[in-house]
């Protein structure tokens, strides 16, 4: 499934002068103050970066427009309680990442005889499909439910980090922060005068 540039040239950040101060500060901080790695070791970091590349492939974008994901996951490993709850069959957040990254290696070793980071992309995807299925090979997955880790730890955090970023908003045509300006064009999915139109597809999907 090729990734198409549906909103060419759309840059939600170019509207930042129309945002309120607090929102602008939060979003700009996310873009320009990427945290240093502090919690994961070099091998874990390489494994995590490889995982992020498979979950959110960004090779189709120019390097300066790629969203850093792994540093934010590493930062989250400084917090034992992330968002107010822990499943009673799961360890705390840093442990879940430690175990999960180790589990990727165990599954990769069983399936392909190499660590996750040393596999080529298609093989990495097979490892991830195995984890997603809920019953991958590997000792780690005997003490931590694989499907739970995949959905709630890996995918939720990585996708949540990506879609928090204005470059991702450009890709999906999200209007972004709208205070104090607000929205006025509400019918038929119409764009505001300052919002992008979607490029028509071959199916003729775009009608605005």
């Amino acid at each position: 499934m090729p990734i198409r540039d549906r909103y060419p040239g759309y840059r939600v950040l170019e509207r930042r002068d129309h945002w309120d101060d607090a929102t602008r500060r939060v979003v700009m901080d996310r873009v320009y103050n990427v945290p240093e790695f502090r919690h994961l070791d070099d091998h874990q970091r390489a494994t995590l970066e490889a995982l992020c590349d498979r979950v959110i492939p960004q090779s189709h974008r120019p390097p300066q427009r790629r969203v850093p994901l792994a540093p934010w996951i590493d930062q989250s490993c400084g917090k034992t309680v992330l968002d107010g709850y822990r499943f009673d069959d799961m360890p705390d957040n840093p442990t879940a990442w430690n175990w999960g990254l180790e589990g990727l290696d165990q599954t990769a070793q069983t399936l392909f005889g190499h660590d996750f980071v040393d596999l080529e992309g298609g093989q990495q995807d097979q490892v991830l499909e195995s984890v997603c299925s809920g019953n991958p090979p590997g000792e780690v997955w005997q003490r931590m439910p694989a499907r739970r880790w995949w959905i709630y730890v890996a995918l939720r955090q990585i996708s949540g980090t990506y879609y928090a970023h204005p470059y991702a908003w450009d890709e999906i045509g999200f209007g972004g922060p709208a205070y104090p300006r607000g929205y006025y064009a509400l019918n038929h999915g119409a764009p505001e005068p300052w919002e992008p139109r979607e490029l028509p597809t071959e199916e003729g999907r775009e009608r605005t």
Binding site: G84, Y85, G160, E171
Partner: protein, 555 residues
């Protein structure tokens, strides 16, 4: 002290707030400032009682603290450690909690339907769950008060439950909400535009401007248009002499030899980062921390008289926890939707709310408009099938083509769903943490499946090319239920503990059943009803010794 909290662009809350020394008893100490506690603080202060209301979190200043950003809004949620389990463990945190003045109302969608008359008689009518010790008629005048005070906008004629109209006209619906309306009309299903939602159609009062259709209701309204207790009742509570004491985490309600509670012990986080322990003494205590924190506080307040937890002689504190089924169904449309615009709460149908003998389940569900922002949408997509890589990116590129329907379904109360205290884990204050146990049972599963199927049909009738769904749950109620006697419940019809005459629980915990209606309005209506009763009986010494049955219930 002089307050300085910006509640909207036009309104800085700059009242001189009265402060009470914690060592001297006030009439009421309230734990929590949400739909129950916030309302009660306002009413009791107006009725002349001295009131201190504690909240574990801070004030949320609309200009400084609220942002138009999903990931940047963590401070609005209860993010302390909780453990969740059972066969269908609930997600907690952002989903169903609030922390700070106004509680969960700060970031709720503000759907404010009433319960139906049938909700109060489920045991009688369907032979399951429980009846309430009160009827719809008991609550109806308080529903009317709340709809004017929040206030609630909606259709001139609302055809379900006890038909009624709304004092404020509906807001314009976004395209996503219009798909719910369109699909229902195609199928001949009665549907209403305009919530009911607690966002007035115009400016309200001197400080609350009209809605600007920003669409970020679920991360707090910077505009101050959407209702929260912080913009509706709490300013009035303060004006009438209540103290709202923020950043105070209650951990124990102590009791004396006579079996009366004497106040609330809490950890107070000071501006300089220090944490101090204080005890606010009070002649009566109201626990209003919602359906996890209220039972947690009671269960953690053990004594010789109440070794299983305060007010828990029935053993029912924490039991019968309910969440509503809230699966999200989304459809992909050829045309543009742009679901991020306009308040998500803008249309609904309650056509399937009541028991229908043709179904293989009792009770029912509502269908409501919902409009996930990008992160929430991505989480729906990954939850559905664990997709990643290009399939995930491609599905998210359709973001502007999705319209969503939230099924809001009645899960029946079951004793096997409960809140307990974790035997070893503690939070950052050293307070034992709650362990939430939640499982679905057969009726719940059948109801959810039917609701999802109906939502799919509606979206398809509106023109969706394909539909998807994932299970979700919303709201938390029921864990300190009200009932008819001390053995079937924790509190009586006035939200007062059967065991302790000067202790109240006044939040969603007291609901015996939950219907398919968002609970905030009902929680506030119950609080307003309790406040009127408190005003009436306080002079009789009722809160020192419970009057015998018969006298007590005289109205």
């Amino acid at each position: 002290m002089k307050l300085n909290v910006q509640l909207s662009p036009n309104w800085v809350l700059d009242y001189e707030m009265r402060e009470y020394p914690f060592g001297e008893p006030v009439d009421f100490c309230i734990v929590g400032t949400g739909a129950g506690g916030g309302l009660l603080a306002q009413r009791l202060a107006r009725y002349g009682f001295s009131v201190v209301a504690l909240d574990a979190g801070p004030w949320h200043d609309a200009e400084r603290d609220m942002v138009s950003d999903e990931a940047g809004s963590q401070r609005l949620y209860w993010n302390d450690l909780r453990i969740t389990g059972g066969t269908d463990p609930l997600e907690l945190g952002a989903n169903n909690s609030g922390r700070g003045v106004g509680g969960g109302t700060v970031h709720y969608a503000a759907f404010c339907p009433r319960f139906h008359p049938s909700d109060f008689r489920v045991r009688t009518q369907d032979g399951v769950a429980a009846d309430w010790p009160i009827s719809y008629e008991d609550l109806e005048p308080y529903y009317e008060q709340m709809e004017r005070e929040y206030p609630v906008s909606g259709p001139a004629y609302y055809p379900w439950g006890r038909p009624h109209g709304y004092p404020y006209g509906p807001l314009q619906a976004g395209t996503a909400g219009q798909m719910l309306i369109k699909g229902c009309i195609e199928l001949g299903i009665r549907v209403v535009a305009g919530g009911p939602v607690a966002i007035p159609g115009g400016a309200f009062g001197r400080g609350r401007p009209h809605c600007i259709m920003r669409g970020f209701c679920l991360v707090g309204c910077k505009v101050g248009a959407k209702h929260s207790m912080a913009v509706s009742h709490i300013p009035d509570a303060i004006r009438n002499g209540a103290e709202i004491r923020d950043r105070c985490m209650a951990y124990e309600v102590p009791i004396d030899e006579e079996g009366l509670v004497t106040g609330v012990r809490y950890f107070r986080s000071l501006q300089d980062g220090r944490v101090v322990e204080e005890e606010q003494r009070a002649r009566a205590v109201v626990v209003a921390g919602y359906a996890i924190e209220s039972p947690r506080l009671l269960l953690n307040s053990t004594s010789g008289r109440f070794p299983q937890g305060l007010a828990n002689s029935s053993g029912l504190v924490g039991k019968f926890l309910m969440a509503q089924a809230a699966p999200v169904v989304w459809g992909r449309f050829d045309g543009m939707i742009r679901q991020y615009k306009a308040p998500p709460a803008c249309a609904c149908t309650e056509e399937f709310y009541e028991t229908d003998p043709r179904n293989d389940f009792v009770r029912g569900y509502a269908l409501q408009s919902v409009s996930p922002l990008p992160i929430a949408m991505a989480h729906l997509l990954v939850d559905e099938d664990g997709r990643f890589g290009e399939p995930l990116l491609a599905a998210m590129q359709d973001y502007n083509h999705y319209a969503c329907i939230g099924v809001l379904g009645e899960i029946l109360p079951d004793e096997r769903n409960y809140v307990s205290i974790h035997p070893t884990l503690k939070d950052q204050f050293g307070i034992p943490v709650p362990h939430v146990h939640f499982s679905l049972f057969e009726n719940d599963r059948r109801m959810m499946a039917a609701g999802v199927q109906k939502a799919r049909e509606v979206l398809e009738a509106a023109g969706a090319r394909e539909t998807h769904f994932v299970p979700r749950y919303a709201h938390l109620v029921g864990s300190c239920r009200m009932g008819f006697n001390p053995s079937d419940s924790v509190v009586d019809q006035w939200c007062r503990s059967w065991d302790v005459p000067n202790l109240f629980v006044c939040d969603g915990s007291v609901l015996p059943t939950q219907g398919s209606a968002n609970p905030a309005l009902t929680i506030s209506a119950l609080a307003a009803r309790s406040a009127d009763w408190i005003r009436r009986v306080a002079p009789t010494g009722e809160f020192r010794r419970r009057a015998p049955a018969g006298v007590r219930e005289a109205r």
